[in-house]
Amino acid sequence: MVTTTSPIKAESRDLNFYYSNGHKALKGITMPLYEKRITALIGPSGCGKSTFLRCFNRMHDLYPGNSYEGQIVMHPDNTNILDNGVDPIEVRMRISMVFQKPNPFPKSIYENVAYGLRVRGERNKRAVDDKVEEALKGAALWDEVKNRLHDLAFNLSGGQQQRLCIARALATDPEIMLFDEPTSALDPIATANIEELMSELRNKLTILVVTHNMQQAARVSDYTAYMYLGELIEYDDTDRIFTNPSRKETEDYITGKFG
């Protein structure tokens, strides 16, 4: 079992998820996320790890016909964020997300980071300026862009764009940040930068990261969950998952016999 001193930030309870075509993509997932810890989701393609991640900010609500069963409860307020009475927009204001491919808006660097604040109706220019600077510093991008904040975002390199997306997600002070294979489109140096950044963000917030790269999970995460065919096979301390997993399936996947 997991050894931790950290309180639970959010937990999924017996979560099932169905796509609009009827496919049951998640089967009874029960799993906690610990506060200010990094939890990694690993598993072969199509195992449901991205689907699970996208439940946390109700991304599936954007497409008609998808349905959830079960709960994701956030602490300390005990809100079930999958409840019909909870607005997905409220959930997304608390839980932000970084995507697989860097997806900056075709706007300036500044506007990209400030967008979350604009959505919240923040009009005070000083406040926005300060927040943008803080977020860019938090995403280790400030020094590279401080002299060209009003350049278009797509003039940045891929790694910088991804850090910009992290800054955008950071600017609104989220409680949890979701990373959906954040380095799969990046070169090794940019990947190392992002991983280092994630370790630093761990001091501020709770992180859930999907990765197809097992070394990455081993390097950055505190806890690791192995999923297969929509089920949670094993969830434990990252060290234990990678050195002494208790399930045979996990061991086969970790050692490369399968997947």
């Binding site: 954007l62 008609p64 997304r92 995507f99 604009r118």
Partner: protein, 312 residues
């Protein structure tokens, strides 16, 4: 040795094959070029023909004179002012409605059999003959709503005519926005309206503008529906000016004024027996083509300008 010989034989065969395939390339490029030329040359010949007939009338008086019984004095003043005012009404009726409808269909409408039905109908509307719009407008605008044979009626009719063009252009360019960009906006907590207003409209504006201008260019040349609703063919006055010298500096009397437009003036001149009027008609035709080309050119330029700043 035998292997070397077979390699050489094989190589010769490969080269012969490549030559054959390249010949197909060449043949198709010729066919394509010919097909393109048929279209372009026809337009060019038409234009040259109009210009060679009408060039004597290319002067300022032609634009500043009212129509007249004497061909040499007749001008286009009331026609081009009429066209301009009608286009103004068309723009302000078709653009807000078309863009709103396109955004609704693409972003808000639930996807079911009903929205499919609407989609088919919108596409169909674009293919309805323009004279049918004229008949509709005659019974709806002229008699039903009592708007009379006015600039307002003509503008609304043409607005209706290009509405499907604007809707389709809006939808097409909205569809070009990648899902990743939308999700990025939703993920920071944007509402649907914020996504539409801050992103969707912004990034699709190039395509939407192109659709609007192409629609307007089509409306400029439309004749049949305007005749149906009873545009005048000979008017020697201008509608009241939309801008006045005294406050509130703007008036809407012109909306209910009688009018004529460029293609109708042209039609009128063409139907006269006197050859001198045919020269005027040719000059008008050339003018319409030039304005249309300018509008389409603007559309291309605008699209290029806006796309330059957007990369996914």
């Amino acid at each position: 040795m035998t292997t070397q010989a077979s390699v050489l034989a094989n190589l010769a065969e490969v080269r012969a094959m490549i030559r054959r395939h390249k010949r197909n390339d060449f043949i198709f490029s010729i066919i394509g070029l010919l097909a393109l030329m048929v279209g372009l040359l026809t337009l060019l010949i038409l234009f040259v023909d109009l210009v060679s007939d009408g060039y004597q009338r290319f002067n300022l008086e032609f634009l500043s004179n009212y129509p007249s019984r004497r061909a040499g004095n007749a001008g286009l003043l009331s026609a081009w002012v009429g066209s301009l005012l009608v286009m103004l009404v068309t723009f302000f009726s078709a653009v807000p409605m078309g863009v709103a409808a396109g955004v609704y269909l693409e972003e808000y409408a639930p996807k079911n059999w009903f929205s499919d039905l609407i989609e088919i109908n919108v596409t169909n509307l674009a293919g309805v003959p323009s004279i049918v719009y004229g008949l509709l407008a005659l019974s709806l605008f002229v008699y039903g709503l009592g708007l009379g044979e006015s600039i307002l009626t003509a503008g609304l009719t043409l607005g209706l005519l290009i509405l499907p063009i604007v809707i389709v252009a809006t939808r097409e360019s909205i569809r070009g926005i990648p899902v990743a960009i939308r999700e990025a906006a939703y993920a920071v907590g944007a509402t649907k309206w914020q996504v539409v207003f801050h992103h969707v409209l912004h990034y699709s504006s190039g395509g939407i503008l192109t659709g609007i201008i192409i629609g307007m260019a089509r409306a400029l040349g439309e004749t049949a529906p305007i005749i149906t609703i009873g545009a005048l063919t000979f008017i020697a006055f201008l509608p009241p000016s939309p801008i006045t010298e005294a406050a509130p500096f703007i008036n809407f009397e012109w909306l209910s004024s009688g009018f004529t437009v460029l293609p109708i003036q042209m039609f009128n001149w063409l139907s006269r027996p006197d050859h001198a009027f045919h020269i005027n008609a040719a000059a008008t035709g050339a003018l319409i083509i030039v304005v249309t080309l300018l509008m389409n050119g603007t559309a291309i330029w605008l699209r290029y300008r806006i796309r330059k700043n957007i990369k996914w």
